[in-house]
Symmetry: C2
Subunit: 151 residues, 2 copies
């Protein structure tokens, strides 16, 4: 039991070290990249729903959002990265680093709807994709409202 606890502590320590090895500026750039790439995919799902619908394109876009959402981007928010410049100055609010419960809630909602989007996209049902895009976009907004400063 004791050795298990030690092993667990060691794992946490090593994981902490691995995260610390990513420079703050790089972590900010990487996370801005993740959101930036998802923005493209959200935009083209919207364009498909509102215009000519291409099932394969929507599937590719939804799969990219899903994989990024599930990639573990939490690791890109090391302590101290409430300030710093990646591609541009971060706009994360300090609350992101203190309100763990709130962050977990918005992150879980986002993951859930991103996973659901990939499922709905696979059906090729444009109306259902449109409805799911609204839900998914709502989880983006939920996090931005609470944890991202306006420009």
């Amino acid at each position: 039991m004791k050795s298990k606890l030690l092993l667990a502590l060691l794992t946490v320590t090593l994981a902490g070290t691995a995260i610390a090895q990513v420079k703050t500026e790089d972590a900010i750039k990487y996370r801005q990249s993740g959101y930036g790439f998802m923005a493209w995919n959200m935009a083209r799902i919207k364009a498909n729903v509102e215009g000519q619908y291409n099932k394969e394109e929507v599937i590719k876009a939804a799969n990219a959002i899903q994989a990024i959402a599930n990639s573990g981007m939490g690791a890109l928010y090391p302590q101290g990265s409430d300030k710093g410049t990646g591609w541009e100055a971060t706009r994360v609010k300090p609350e992101f680093f203190t309100n763990k419960e709130g962050v977990t809630k918005v992150a879980m909602a986002f993951n859930k709807e991103a996973n659901e989007m990939a499922k709905v996209a696979a059906t090729g049902d444009a109306a259902a994709v449109g409805a799911q895009l609204g839900k998914l976009g709502g989880t983006c907004k939920g996090c931005h409202d609470d944890f991202k400063a306006k420009k």
Copy 2:
């Protein structure tokens, strides 16, 4: 037969329109985001191979790379986007827009190795992941050498 041809032409035209709707600066920002996010995932696969190996983290990273690789980023290279600023000034070479055969070759090599990386990651075999990371990284370099200007 004639109506099929007309339909095909119409489809091409509409697809062209959809792509044209993405502003050049946005297209550049989106593609820089995709590569930026893949850079994080390449880096953490490398860190896992060289340090403590976490199978789940490597799978997440490989899945993100795979989904981005298969997302259809070619649409983010509209004509005229050899110049312009997204997150930063693009460094794509003009050859990217004229050497279709060369671009197709590097793009297909990249997709192949990204798909293979996701498969190898799922096995949890650290040595095989390390070998595959080398192959995948080689396809990144292959494109950079030919189509991306140095800083």
